[in-house]
Every structure is written in structure tokens, then in C-alpha cells.
Symmetry: C2
Subunit: 243 residues, 2 copies
């Protein structure tokens, strides 16, 4: 008995988990780029010589892991990537209606310091792109960001006028560099403001501030951005649900 195009299940692993892993591998490899549709579940099931329900369970797994989205009547699509997950969501500045704006204060190619290097998984001292960026709400500067980007990948951002970048970075990463942010992790902490950030935010040195350290990852799990965001501690608020 032989299956047409079978997937090997490791011992102790269910058939649908093996199918999900195989599909995940193909998605990460780029067989179906972000935003495109997978074959119909019927076809996938037939290809793998498996019952429809089994393939559906595999696809449900991938949905839960954030790799695909299923739309009733339309199809199954590779998730296009995060677009609006700004650290601004951790702050309340009282002008909820106003659209956030962003201004690039500096863009330099510099040897990456130890901290950012570790987050990016590259050797310290490697040249990388460093951005200083201000986020504004209702013309008021609210957040100061330092962003490190690894350099072969983001070299197209090293030239051109940053004023043309728009207010969101992740769509820019996708369109200009082909980098899709699949997942991110923010570590929240507390510190006091000093130097350039204090000046940019028009707050006195020593002012208490909330710090959000972000690592952003692509589909393959590589860290493609290390970002530190600083904002007034008194405007910080975040809600956690426990179950």
C-alpha cells in the first residue's frame, strides 16, 4: 500500500501535525508568498492521500499558529504579516481620534552595539542601519524610538528620502525590502529619560519613562528588527488578561 504523496509522521506525532509541519515548511520556504492563496483543502487532502477532516485539522493548527487565514467561500491565504502593532498602543495620550505621525530624526550606518546585536542574532560591530524616529500625536512628540536593522536585508532603506516613507514601517519593510513581519515580542520596563530622547520629547532629564524593547521576526523566525521605544511613564497603561 502506498500513498500518492505521503508525509512521514515522526513516531508519537499525529498525522495532522505532520501535515501541518510539512505545509509550514513550504510556507516558510516561500512556496506560497504572503498574501497568496493555498490550494483548496479538497485538493491538498487528495494530494496527500488523506481524509478531508484530517487536512482540515492540519489547517486549523496553522491558523492557530498565525501562518494562514481561512475565509469562508474565498480560500486559505498565507498571512500577509503584521501592519499595525505600534508600541503606541501601550500609551494613552488623550487624543485618541488623532492619527499618529512619524518623523525620522536620523539614519546612519553604524557598527551594531552588543545589545542590539544579540537581539538580532548577528556579530557585534557588524555594520547595520540605525534609525532615530519620533512619533507624534496631534503635533505633540510622544515617543522616541531607536531602531536597528540588519544590513544586507534593509540596504534599500539606506538611500532615498526618509520623508517619503510614510507613518508605518512594517508596510514599508514589505514593499521596499520584501520583509514580512510575522511575529513580534515586546519587553516592557521602566527607566529615566536622558540626553537626546529627553530633548526630542521635550521632557526634563530624569523624567520617568516606560521602555518597550521589541524584537520583530519574519516567517522563518529570524529577528529582523531590534527597537527601543521610550515614552512618558505617566501615559503608559496596558491590560493583561489571565486565564
Amino acid at each position: 500500500m502506498s500513498r500518492p504523496h505521503g508525509v512521514q509522521a515522526e513516531p508519537g506525532q499525529s498525522r495532522y501535525a505532520a501535515l501541518a509541519a510539512a505545509l509550514r515548511t513550504r510556507i516558510v520556504a516561500g512556496d506560497w508568498p504572503p498574501g497568496t492563496a493555498l490550494p483548496a483543502e479538497q485538493q491538498l487532502a487528495a494530494e496527500q492521500g488523506v481524509a478531508l477532516g484530517t487536512m482540515r485539522r492540519a489547517l486549523e493548527l496553522l491558523t492557530g499558529q498565525g501562518f494562514i487565514e481561512r475565509v469562508h467561500g474565498r480560500g486559505t491565504f498565507v498571512k500577509p504579516g503584521l501592519s499595525g502593532a505600534s508600541p503606541l498602543r501601550f500609551f494613552r495620550f488623550g487624543d485618541g481620534a488623532a492619527a499618529p505621525a512619524s518623523r525620522i530624526l536620523a539614519r546612519d550606518t553604524l557598527p551594531v552595539p552588543a545589545g542590539a546585536a544579540q537581539q538580532l542574532g548577528i556579530a557585534p560591530g557588524t555594520p547595520a542601519l540605525r534609525l532615530h524616529r519620533l512619533r507624534l500625536l496631534a503635533q505633540q512628540p510622544r515617543l522616541f524610538e531607536e531602531i536597528w536593522l540588519p544590513l544586507p536585508l534593509f540596504s534599500t532603506l539606506a538611500s532615498g528620502d526618509p520623508a517619503d516613507w510614510g507613518d508605518l514601517l512594517y508596510p514599508l519593510f514589505a514593499s521596499r525590502c520584501g520583509v514580512h513581519v510575522h511575529r513580534a515580542q515586546d519587553v516592557i520596563g521602566f527607566c529615566t529619560l536622558d540626553g537626546a530622547p529627553a530633548q526630542a520629547l521635550a521632557l526634563p532629564p530624569g523624567h520617568p519613562c516606560a521602555r518597550v524593547q521589541r524584537q520583530a521576526f519574519d516567517l522563518a523566525g529570524r529577528c529582523i528588527e531590534a527597537r527601543t521605544t521610550l515614552g512618558d511613564a505617566h501615559a503608559f497603561h496596558y491590560t493583561v488578561s489571565i486565564t
Copy 2:
């Protein structure tokens, strides 16, 4: 009640969603108390005149919502409630190995102030139980907590020696008051220390601190605890994953 077909599906609602809602109602009503086992899925399916797979989907829904736990080979159990979700998890004090201890500084029956009343969903000024509690790590006071508890429910805690309560409150709520915490929500912010909390934590007035405001809810969705936790802002840290 022994009609073979038990559950009405509202229009637009799937059969398994209706079954889940019906089971959820019975769980909240106390038909199966926390920790006890539900009937086998086979039996539940037969009772409701539904296929096994459909009942399984209903039970999967309830699992995802945190109402039940399924254990292979043993059965399906109503979740016993949260036990270890201390706000301590938001802080790093460098002595990870040490077991946290707690000390009740004050216990009073007082008219509940506006803020706590709103969180608890009761009228301001209603008598309620107020606790002041210190959390210690390696003999060092680390967190100061103010806890408001609604009074008919927690009256058994108004007497007796708080020194006998142990270090965890939620197991105490379950054993002494029959209250099981099913879900909680923490709102995180920053402020400055002052007065009693500053003194209890041996920190100077004006010191920056992290504030965790918690609402805890029982199975029925009633808020049964309003708690404010204060700790040194420099020890605060929290990780958020974005997908």
C-alpha cells in the same frame, strides 16, 4: 428532563456552539462544581441526540474558553480555578529561587470607595472587606497590596487570625468562601509612591513605582476582587507577544 433532543440552536448559531452554551450554563449554575468530572463525551452526545464529533467540537470550545480541562484516558473536568497568577510575575527581584511570602498588615470592614466599588460592580459606600498585604522575597518587602472584597461573600474572612491564611489568597478564597477565581484582568501603569505603601516598602516618598490594578472574576463573570499592587518601577518587566 429526559427529552433526547435537549438544546435549541438560535438562528445563525451552529449546533456545537449551542451545545457549548448549554453546557456552560450548567457549569456556571453549579451542576458540576469546579474540579469534578463531566459525563463522558459518548454519554453527553447520546443525551443530546448528536453525533460524537459534534459534541467534541462543543467541548473543544469550552476548553478554549477555559471552562473545562480534558485529560486523555481520565475524563473531562471543570477547571478548579486560578491558583498562581500573582502580580509578582510582573517583577524581577533577582532572587528567583526564593519562595514568596505574604503578611497581612491590616484587615478592616469599611465603606468601599468609588474606584473599587465600580470595579466590583457594587454601590459606593457599601461595607466591604479591605486588606493591606505585603509580599516579601527573601525577607525583603517587595510589593504592597490593597485588596477590596465584597462582603456577604467573604464574611468568613472578617474573623480569625490572618496569620493562618498562608501565602496564596485564591486557594483560601476557594476553601474558606467557596469562591473560585476563573479569570482575572490586570491593568498596568506607573505612578509614584507615598505614605503607607512607601513606608511598608522602605522606599522614599516620590519613588517611581509600577501599579497593577486587578479585577478577578468567578465562573459566573461577577467581579469578586479589586486589588491594587505597588512595587518598585525599576524591578518591573513584562513580555508581550504579538501575532
